[in-house]
Amino acid sequence: MTIPNLVGAGLIVIGAGIGLGKIGGSAMDAIARQPEAAGKIQTAMIIIGALLEGLAFGALILGA
């Protein structure tokens, strides 16, 4: 592991963290507005979270 790799990995994690935060926050807002749709929103949230996670892990593995 070289320093550029580690910095890149850190940037990926920051980016993924921002993304996950936005997804979670928006989902919370949506659930608060429409509690009856909580199930559907949760499923969509998990799917998008997983897609983001796949991207972050992929970048981490390719980078490291």
Partner: protein, 388 residues
């Protein structure tokens, strides 16, 4: 339609049968293992050839923990439940080694073969185990290295029953027992409540059908894909759960296995894709023609990145989970001096317990996500579009 269905089922069956071939022990030796090897060879040159290069390292040191974790994450030819670092002993059982090398060579691996680097003679050929791989050597077991310290000896084609294959077979047997019990209940009377383990499986089957297949693939077509989605869901879920038991299995954390599973999804999506699916890839409707040319390569790339992200997600999640659990267990050994033995064991126990509970969630979530996204991709491939 019937022939397509039949051929898809046949394809899946054939691929599942071929899975152990792809998942043989050809896992690349991880770089940290190599750097550790370099560390140990500097200190003791005698251990140069032995597989157990961390044998000379103090069990409470960081290198030992790292090597142990790496070892756990790799496939192995010997099923070791636990070991004694001071006495260099491993408790477990040997697994059959099957090599294709001028005919079929079959012998049982032993502790000495895998951990002490003993040379095994079979059919006039000598084999030696080195860093998770089997090499052909002379009677003395000489291994020659290139300048990067990689062995240059010839490798036989290895289709051994390794630890991962044992895990797969175990999962297969368990799933078979569980689902035959479930099927029997429905056979005797469709309205019977399943008994025993089948009662726990029924809600999961319905969950896969109602939450994943039906909404994503559509009411008309979902039935054709249920066998695949259920197989993949229960296989991943059970293997993830087996990885949390003290059996020490790490099957879904092996990239060969996840590559194989993602390949099934890839083939399923592309074999069942209708004309609209291919049209959207190569000649995107509804955009001006220069855009179509730009979009085609991107869409073709998208065909491959979808299963790629599936395989990386499952592999990385399980590998990361196992590494962290191993690291927290190691706290008991590494912190022994600072926290005293009971303190270190207590801290390690609490942290590991917490993380294992979290891993239970991850075990389900990864199976869910894999199946969910598979059905989503299949659904987008078979979707009927309204022509605008």
């Amino acid at each position: 339609m019937v022939t397509i269905k039949k051929s898809l089922h046949l394809l899946t069956a054939a691929l599942f049968a071929l899975m152990p071939l792809v998942s043989n022990a050809e896992t690349p030796v991880v770089s940290a293992h190599d750097s550790l090897h370099a560390v140990t060879t500097e200190t003791s040159h005698e251990t140069h050839d032995s597989h157990d290069t961390h044998a000379e390292v103090d069990p409470s040191s960081r290198e030992f923990v790292q090597a142990y974790t790496e070892h756990h994450l790799m496939d192995d030819h010997y099923y070791s439940f636990f070991g004694n670092a001071e006495e260099h002993k491993h408790y477990g059982f040997g697994l059959p080694v099957i090599l294709i090398d001028n005919g079929l060579k079959v012998f049982m691996s032993t502790e000495d073969f895998v951990y002490k680097g003993t040379v095994v003679e079979n059919g006039g050929q000598h084999y030696k185990y080195y860093h998770g791989k089997i090499y052909k050597t002379d009677a003395a077991g000489t291994i020659s290295y290139d300048e990067h310290h990689h062995p240059t000896n010839e490798k036989p084609f290895d289709i051994s029953i390794t630890k991962n294959v044992v895990g797969l077979l175990l999962a297969t047997v368990l799933l078979f027992l569980g689902f035959t019990a479930l099927a029997k209940t429905y056979k005797s009377s469709p309205n019977n409540l399943p008994k025993g383990i089948a009662r726990a499986l029924e809600p999961l089957v319905i969950y896969v059908r109602d939450e994943m297949a039906r909404p994503n693939i559509g009411e008309k077509k979902y039935k054709k894909y249920m066998p695949y989605l259920l197989s993949v869901f229960f296989l991943i879920f059970l293997l993830n759960l087996l990885g949390l038991t003290p059996l020490g299995l790490n099957v879904t954390g092996n990239i060969s296995i996840t590559v194989c599973l993602a390949l099934f999804t890839f083939l399923y999506v592309n074999f069942s894709g209708n004309a609209d699916y291919w049209k959207h890839i190569f000649w995107m409707p509804g955009v001006p023609w220069p855009m179509k040319i730009v979009l085609a390569p991107i869409e073709v790339l998208g065909m491959f990145t979808k299963p790629f992200s599936l395989l990386i997600r499952l592999f990385a999640n399980i590998t990361a989970g196992h590494s962290v659990v191993m690291g927290l267990i190691a706290v008991a050994f590494v912190m022994k001096q600072t926290l005293t033995t009971p303190g270190a064991v207590g801290v390690s126990f609490l942290l590991t317990l917490f993380l294992t509970v979290l891993e239970l969630l991850v075990a389900f979530l990864q199976a869910f996500i894999f199946t969910m996204l598979s059905s989503l991709f299949i659904g987008s491939a078979v979707e009927e579009h309204d022509h605008h």
